[in-house]
Symmetry: none
DNA sequence: CATGAATGAGAATTCATTCAT
DNA sequence: AATGAATGAATTCTCATTCAT
């Protein structure tokens, strides 16, 4: 079975990565099994090792690959309009990536919480470009007076990304019940920008006045 | 012979649980090793099995134990005053628990993201009382007109808990740089209730008007 | 099965080493199997790893252990009398070691011919003390006029050790037929000192004269 | 299609054998890898199987091939003159073979020490003609009174061949330092015929008498 | 013929669990 | 109760061999 085209080889690689992502998302690095991934992908164990040096190398490539597509999407999302519009567009791009590569995102989100020194740097590295875009948007928002200026933009950036991740987690945790993926962009923006306090009221620190 | 007192037994048990929490927090259920936990706790492998039926049972007890203290704290936090005050008090109680049992919380947060059918139910079960308290506070807030009523309270509840977890994750991920633990209660409440939009302005959907 | 005495532990270790030596002697490092060694020694696979870090570590210890006993024997052999007597005594000591730990010696001899950079240095290191003794004897022999002085002593040393190894190899290769182990000391000394030329005759380069 | 000439086929075959010899010499049968051999020879793994039925068959052919050239050389070496001259000529022929096919010889010598029932017979078979020639020479020597007659000729034969092998091993083991290949024929003959005792002296068993 | 992807039997190694001491 | 040696099922990884291209 030699002499396959580069395209075929790439297809097998994708297939393995895809399946690996599902397994890592479900069970983590330590919990997933190479054999299980291989069989689920329709190959024999050995084939995995023809494409990836080790289980850990495969894991690293899942992270890398999962981030690559995401970053591309983000770069393509529109940068114009109000802060609200821009954030919504970015969130929408993010959700679009999610729909296509849910497993990859799950792995990323899951590992982002493990702080494992072997995987955390990978994630930070690949998340960088995304964070930068958010930060640019928010910086413009502060300048325009649309975003509160009593917090460093870097912190607001982390908050927005975090809110997004949070909604995904709740989506997964509820078995998709709430929030649905298409609600996520609006929810993220509202939650982030407006908060939960009642609209049109002063955000009072104390009792309601009569 | 060699009958140890109940107090001694309890001390050993605590020690094992504490160490186990650290290891599970660091590496997850599958990644942690019984031997590693035992040795780090200052005992031999076999001793773990004198106190816990299996690695998974130990894990379950870590979760249970980690939640028990938390729930007690929550119950003790004050229920009076404005929504803002109540949420802040609850968050403060939560942070106090965190300071005392960081590892247990890490395990809970980490596993909450894994949705493993063996551990997820445990977490949901133990988180229940906490969620209920948040929900009561928010329900009162809606009634009082302090909390927006265009979203189900259950969703807002999840959002608040999520924001709190989010801040912890960022605390851990930044190596404690930001946010510091004592900032967390205020941050959580502000982020949740007020959002990031500039204060005193209409939360307009469109362009700024001249 | 804990709390065994140090003596028991040492006994198990010896048993494993002994069996490992047999397997390595028979099949080499690459050809031997940990499982085979363990079972032949009467233990389960895992037990080997309780005593040795890896197959290669086990191999290295076989070499080390095999040389240790040999060196002790050599040190105890007598140093007095003629060169011939001394060499014979040393060879006899060597043969005695052989009888007791044939497998260890086989491994050493076998690996000495493989020049593997991972094992060769081990052998050279452990053979060192032996070579030194031979060299001392031969140096005295040269001084006494009993050993030819037209060759560096270091070369003669290697030659003697080599002749001994050679006889072992032929012993093994012939299935013990020739030479028998108890012939080896005399054979080695005669072959080394006297050579195969007829005694009492000139070592003529040409035809016999009438 | 793609029918290659017999000459090309033979060239590829030689190339594979040569490379295989190097690998087997370095790592033994079990330690060498088909893929490593193929790639080192400039071919793909599969090609090896177009020329040899299996790794073991390849090994057998290396032995066979290594011996074939040697035997041819021996047959061509001169049979006349004194025992000393004849042995020297034979040793010189052997060294000539060594220079040309060092790896093949290494494999033969290395495997000769392993007594593996799968390879040992091969070696004995191919060494046979060589041993026979040595034996003829020594038999003539005994008859002529040049070789000691107190040992069976068969044993002396093994001793001579062994001494030669021994010198090779020391040549390889010293990284070529000593002995150099061109010293080997003389060394082998001297060591074998004359031994290490001082010349012109009685090979006394005891102390020198005044 | 040459290739090298796919295969899967097999070997090394890990580790949760048991249990004699 | 504490221990840690023994165990062997489970897992990772290797590599000889096959065979479609």
């Amino acid at each position: 079975m030699a002499r396959i085209t580069a395209a075929t080889r790439e297809k097998v690689r994708k297939q393995l990565l895809e399946t690996a992502a599902e397994h890592f998302a479900e069970r983590g690095l330590a919990g997933a099994q190479v054999d299980g991934i291989a069989v689920a992908a329709g190959f024999a164990k050995g084939t995995v090792y023809n494409y990836f040096a080790s289980k850990e190398a495969l894991f690293a490539e899942v992270i890398t690959e999962g981030c690559r597509a995401a970053v591309q999407r983000y770069a393509a999302s529109r940068h114009e309009g109000s802060v609200r519009e821009c954030l919504r567009a970015l969130a929408a791009a993010d959700v679009a990536v999610m729909s296509e590569q849910e497993s990859f995102m799950k792995v990323v989100v899951r590992e982002a919480m493990s702080f494992d020194p072997r995987t955390y740097p990978l994630i930070v590295e690949h998340l960088g470009p995304y964070l930068e875009q958010v930060q640019q948007i928010l910086t413009r928002g502060v300048a325009a007076g649309d975003v509160r200026d009593d917090r460093p933009v870097s912190q607001l950036t982390l908050a927005f990304v975090g809110v997004l991740a949070l909604l995904y987690v709740q989506h997964w945790g509820s078995g998709g019940a709430w929030p649905a993926l298409d609600e996520v962009p609006d929810l993220a923006v509202t939650l982030f920008l407006d908060g939960a306090a009642a609209r049109g009221r002063p955000r009072s620190m104390g009792k309601k006045t009569p």
